[in-house]
């Protein structure tokens, strides 16, 4: 078991490095307007050259990358081109906001997906199943940024029961924090629930047709006990291992949702970096999101393997 974890962790490091290279190259091939963005359009050629020399942008790309990576490993994400503030502390301030949003959204998604998926499987090929499956198709087709817009329209502009945006730290005013987080979490969570619902349904269907459920029934166990204690519990294991990958997808959605609700998280930092052509900011924010997603995927992979010994072999043969 320890060996398995060690192997996965060892494989994770090259993945992280490769991902950082992809991001670094993608962002640094931007046609050289970082200097222009930082200095204004009237900047002279000399000023631009001086800026690029100072920021190290005139060196070969691989030197820039190694230099950057070396610093990042030590927690130094460089300084913003725009306001010269160190990026690292900024990331630390913003990460909890994004994590809170993603976790709340994931809870919303599971809250919808688990019961509905289980009900659909239980009533396999009957109207309830068709209805729920169709609902999943509908939910999966709603753009999360449109849902966010509609929620603002209804709850903030019409009913005036929730704020349209902004952020208050959880520690300052938990109630206000929750009232500001609920619409962003619903926008991300409801749309993500569509896929999770399908996974739960498939997982539950497989369990319901298994021998031990038949045995439980044959023993005369009450239906409710069979479903909740035997079937759901066993269906949740594959569901969680597959479903947690959705957490990664959901995490990507924070960029657009944070922008709409004016949440000062990592996602909105990506956009700030793009609009200002502020490479260090953009690179750091994108890296954090990618690392979180990759880490979640890796952990899910390990947990999945530990829970299901069969997966060790099937994945190993890839």
């Amino acid at each position: 078991m320890l060996r398995l974890i060690a192997v996965r962790l060892a494989a994770f490091i090259p993945t992280l490095i490769a991902a950082s290279i992809v991001l670094f190259v993608a962002i640094n091939v931007l046609p050289g307007s970082a200097a222009r963005a930082a200095l204004g359009i009237d900047a002279t050629a000399q000023a631009i050259a001086r800026f690029e020399a100072m920021a190290g942008l005139d060196r070969p790309l691989y030197v820039q990358y190694l230099d950057w990576l070396g610093k990042v490993v030590q927690g130094d994400f460089g300084k913003s081109f725009q306001n010269h503030v160190p990026v690292g502390p900024e990331l630390l301030n913003r990460l909890p906001i994004t994590l809170e949003l993603a976790i709340l959204a994931f809870i919303v998604a599971n809250f919808i997906a688990i019961p509905l998926g289980a009900i659909a499987a239980y009533y396999h090929q009957r109207p309830a199943d068709s209805g729920i499956t169709f609902l999943a198709t509908i939910l999966g087709a709603i753009p999360n940024f449109w849902l966010a817009t509609l929620l603002i329209l209804i709850f903030a502009l019409r009913l005036r029961v929730l704020p349209a945006g902004g952020y208050t730290p959880l520690t300052v005013d938990p109630w206000r924090n929750l009232s500001q987080m609920i619409m962003p979490a619903l926008s991300l969570g409801i749309v993500s629930s569509a896929l999770l619902l399908r996974i739960m349904r498939a997982s539950m269907l497989e369990v319901l047709t298994s021998d031990y459920i038949r045995t439980a029934h044959a023993k005369g166990a009450p239906e409710r006990v069979v479903i909740t204690r035997h079937a759901m519990r066993n269906a949740l294991i594959p569901f969680l291992t597959v479903g947690a990958v959705e957490f990664g997808f959901l995490f990507g959605g924070v960029v657009i949702i944070e922008e709409i609700f004016r949440l000062p998280g990592i996602g909105s930092l990506v956009l700030v970096g793009i609009i200002n052509r502020d490479y260090p900011v953009l690179l750091a924010a994108a890296l954090v999101i990618t690392v979180v997603v990759l880490t979640v995927n890796m952990l899910v992979d390990i947990i999945g393997s530990l829970l299901d010994p069969r997966q060790v072999h099937s994945r190993g043969s890839k």
């Binding site: 993945t15 490769a18 991902a19 992809v22 991001l23 993608a26 962002i27 091939v29 931007l30 046609p31 090929q125 068709s130 499956t133 169709f134 198709t137 509908i138 999966g140 087709a141 709603i142 753009p143 940024f145 449109w146 817009t149 509609l150 603002i152 329209l153 502009l157 399908r198 996974i199 349904r201 498939a202 997982s203 269907l205 497989e206 990664g248 997808f249 995490f251 990507g252 959605g253 960029v255 657009i256 922008e259 709409i260 990506v270 956009l271 793009i274 953009l282 994108a286 999101i289 990618t290 997603v293 990759l294 995927n297 099937s314 994945r315 043969s317 890839k318």
Partner: protein
């Protein structure tokens, strides 16, 4: 490879529906897709007004007989803009899916056909691309390529390559095990001819189904990029940028927040239903 093979069985369970339902949903999907395609092709003839024509007197007018879906903050007809925006969505999605389909098929087939180290390297690369959140990758690619429609097509297309490559690889591996490929080899057919004559026609069905679903996702990504100001640029109408400007005026003119999103939703729903329906219809493994 075995996890690719088993992932199909999970899908098998939930796609088993009654046949009338299956065809019904496929039908709804086909109708929605046709409507979007008609709007995209004939927007110039169907749209009652020009999508660009400013009319300050008519600013933010509620839906009426003259303007079925109301007017926007510059007095432009929302219906006309929504219809024209379908064109951008369809164009971007069509090119992006083609890039993903062609790129992914080439990578997948090469990977499966040559196997070994080629397979390992290509699939690792695909896995890496796949693990990035799609929207983040699209945003970064757009930022580095520059914001215009062609770049949006390329950025979204690149995102689709891993998905298609996995499918093409799995399907090619399945075909390679068939006797007719063995037979083609023994009669001395060249690798290239085997690929073209025996393998491509046999892997086209799963790829076609995936293309319909990818099309829906491409529409969504294009809208998201335009919403963030990284895709279609004003005054060019796109559902994404219409929604983004519209939400600033939602208190007075709620239709500006509803109409473009509804168009996106119906388009995505249509392609998803079409993809699901085609999968049930064409893929013998998934039939009851």
């Amino acid at each position: 490879m075995s996890d690719l093979a088993t992932s199909g069985t999970a899908a098998e369970g939930f796609s088993s529906r009654l046949s009338w339902r299956r065809h019904g949903l496929l039908g709804i999907g086909a109708i929605l897709v046709s409507l979007v395609l008609l709007a995209a092709l004939f927007a110039d003839f169907i749209a009652p007004y020009s999508p660009y024509e400013l009319n300050v007197v008519n600013m933010l007018q509620a839906p009426s007989w003259a303007h079925w879906l109301g007017t926007d903050e510059l007095g432009r007809d929302v219906l006309s803009r929504t219809l024209h925006a379908a064109r951008i969505s369809v164009e971007v999605a069509l090119v992006a899916v083609t890039i993903g389909l062609v790129g992914g098929t080439i990578v997948g087939i090469i990977s499966a056909y040559f196997g070994g180290i080629v397979d390992l390297v290509l699939m690792r690369l695909m896995e890496l691309l796949f693990s990035f959140p799609a929207i983040l990758l699209a945003i970064i690619l757009m930022a580095s390529l520059g914001t215009n429609m062609l770049n949006a097509m390329i950025a979204i297309g690149i995102i689709f390559i891993p998905g298609f490559s996995r499918l093409a690889r799995a399907a090619t591996q399945a075909v390679l095990r068939q006797e007719y490929v063995e037979a083609a080899r023994t009669i001395g057919m060249s690798d290239l001819r085997i690929l073209g004559r025996e393998i491509l026609p046999n892997v086209s069905t799963p790829l076609l189904i995936e293309a319909a679903v990818a099309f829906a996702y491409a529409v969504l990504l294009e809208s998201a990029l335009s919403f963030l100001g990284l895709g279609a640029q004003p005054p060019e109408p796109s559902w994404g940028n219409m929604l983004n400007t519209g939400r600033g005026f939602m208190a007075q003119a709620p239709w500006l927040g509803i109409v473009p999103g509804m168009a996106m939703f119906l388009c995505v729903l249509g392609f998803n239903l079409l993809g699901d329906g085609l999968r049930d219809y064409l893929d013998p493994h998934l039939k009851d």
